[in-house]
């Protein structure tokens, strides 16, 4: 691999050829604010927050699309750069609701993070025109508040490049540009299949998981990576846990098979875990009716009954049905139970559905 050396804020760094200035900075823990950049998506260069000063270049080039070159001299924190970033943030905030207190994204919002870091006041362009678009509350999965949209276009790219659907795109132009399904219809009336990729990339509160609203703040939530219990693809994601309760699912970029992508079931189907119809105690049927039992009662009964059948009719009079929904360990134990404990090969599962 070909390597190049450049100077960033006085530090000499060496990166592989083809690296962008932004990547070079991030490889070396030099912080650069970005809103429209996502390594999983094509580069877009629209938010202009990642601007830097580069010797010999006019204006302030965006680091996310500028290739690092041999001997390049980059400055990321000059007054000019910081002032310009602050002004750009002021412009975004001037056209963004300030209801952070009740916003689902609070604590996880990139705009808020940078606005705070750059001491944005929200005063500079006060009183100017603002967007007033209807809230899209049309479906059980995704809340869409176009007034919070900063038009970074990540959702548009995710929908096209990751999901291959292009349900979302920009419409109109200039100050009136907005993002949404065709004719800006609600999601429910669009071609959307609710994979939620748009939600997973949104840097602000414009797209949020409806079921998680009011359920917990990021800093209260523990994230546990696990494997989806539905189809055979084996997607990974993070279960969001608060107070011993799963409140929802968020993408885990580390996921080996699916990256940030998920389908409607994996992302939005996990409320079944806490469904009120879950079995919470062993049940024994007594004259046609189920009655609650202790584990000892139930397990002793099972052990005894299976024992009897084996005694009277032989081990092969018992059949065991394992499950393609359970873990490898459980399937292993189940077939071991059948073969080693009961003593039969009558072990199968719905392998064929």
């Amino acid at each position: 691999m070909e390597w190049i050396t450049l100077t960033i804020d006085g530090r000499t760094v060496t990166v592989p050829k083809g690296t962008t200035v932004l990547e070079a900075c991030r490889m070396n823990e030099i912080p650069i604010p970005t809103l429209c950049h996502d390594p999983e998506l094509s580069s877009y260069g629209s938010c202009r927050l990642c601007i830097v000063e580069i010797e010999g270049m006019r204006n302030l080039p965006p680091s996310c699309v500028t290739q690092a070159t041999q001997g390049m001299v980059v400055r990321t924190q000059t007054t000019k750069v910081r002032d310009s970033r602050k002004t750009i943030l002021e412009l975004l905030v001037a056209n963004h609701p300030l209801d952070c207190m009740t916003c689902q994204k609070m604590g996880d919002c990139d705009l808020a993070k940078y606005a705070y870091e750059y001491r944005v006041t929200g005063e500079l362009f006060k009183g100017g025109e603002r967007r007033h678009l209807p809230l899209d509350d049309s479906n059980p999965f995704i809340l869409r508040d176009a007034n919070k949209c900063i038009l970074c276009g990540k959702c548009v790219r995710a929908c096209e490049e990751v999901q291959g659907r292009s349900v979302l795109d920009f419409s109109f132009r200039g100050f009136h540009a907005q993002v949404g399904p065709a004719f800006n219809l609600p999601y429910s009336e669009s071609e959307c299949v609710f994979c939620g990729s748009c939600v997973s990339v949104c840097p602000v509160g414009a797209l949020t998981e409806k079921k998680m609203v009011g359920q917990g703040r990021p800093w209260e939530v523990e994230k546990v990576q696990t494997t989806c219990p539905f189809c055979g693809t084996g997607c990974n994601f993070d279960l969001n846990v608060k107070d011993g309760k799963v409140i929802g699912v968020t993408s885990n970029p580390e996921a080996p098979v699916n990256g940030k992508a998920l389908c409607v079931k994996g992302r939005f189907g996990m409320d079944l875990i806490h469904n009120s119809e879950r079995l919470t105690t062993p049940l024994i049927k007594k004259d046609g009716e189920f009655v609650e039992a202790t584990w000892d009662e139930a397990m002793d009964l099972v052990a005894q009954k299976l024992g009897e059948v084996k005694q009277e009719h032989g081990a092969d009079a018992i059949s065991v049905l394992s499950s393609a929904r359970c873990t490898n360990e459980e399937n292993f134990l189940m077939q071991k139970l059948a073969r080693a404990v009961i003593g039969t090969n009558n072990i199968d599962h719905c392998a064929r559905t």
Binding site: V167, D169, F170, S171, F172, R173, P181, A182, F183, E191
Partner: protein
């Protein structure tokens, strides 16, 4: 085909399908097709956009994005005559605004509006490149220059 069935066939639709068929293999066909579709229908009804999308295999969201990006495309029916008043620099400094005012009063509509009798659709445009005759306007494909609050009224009366 029996006459009854022939009546069911929308000639505009057939025309549109012909346009789509003509362009379907061509790269970058969307905008020319939409322009032709607008010639056929006078504007771009939702159904037409869906038909174009199916024909060219382009997602509806992208078509809507394009239609709302370019000033030329209309999602609402247009009047029989499209009246484009120029407010380009030259016209601006030569009192184009006054002319516009008169027209707006005359027709009772503002930018983008269409008169109730469907006679005119009024649009404000940046520049029609006839700056030498400022202030100017364009009715359909005809340019009218050296406008004054007085002579516009008379010009309008020429269009039915």
């Amino acid at each position: 085909m029996c006459e009854a069935c022939e009546d069911l066939i929308d000639p505009k639709e057939t025309e549109l399908d012909a346009v789509i068929a003509q362009y379907v293999r061509e790269k970058g066909a969307l905008i020319p097709v939409l322009q032709k579709a607008q010639e056929i229908y006078g504007y771009l009804p939702t159904e037409v956009l869906k038909r174009v999308g199916r024909g060219l295999r382009i997602p509806l969201s992208k078509i809507y994005g394009v239609v709302t990006f370019y000033a030329q495309f209309r999602l609402m029916p247009m009047g029989r005559n499209v009246l484009r008043v120029c407010l380009g620099t030259a016209c601006h400094v030569r009192g184009g605004a006054k002319v516009l005012e008169t027209i707006e009063q005359e027709l009772g509509v503002k930018d983008g509006g269409t008169t109730e009798d469907q006679r005119f659709t009024l649009e404000i445009v940046a520049c029609i490149g006839a700056c030498g005759l400022a202030p100017t306007m364009m009715i359909n494909d005809e340019v009218h220059g050296r406008l004054t609050a007085e002579n516009v009224t008379e010009i309008l009366s020429k269009y039915e």
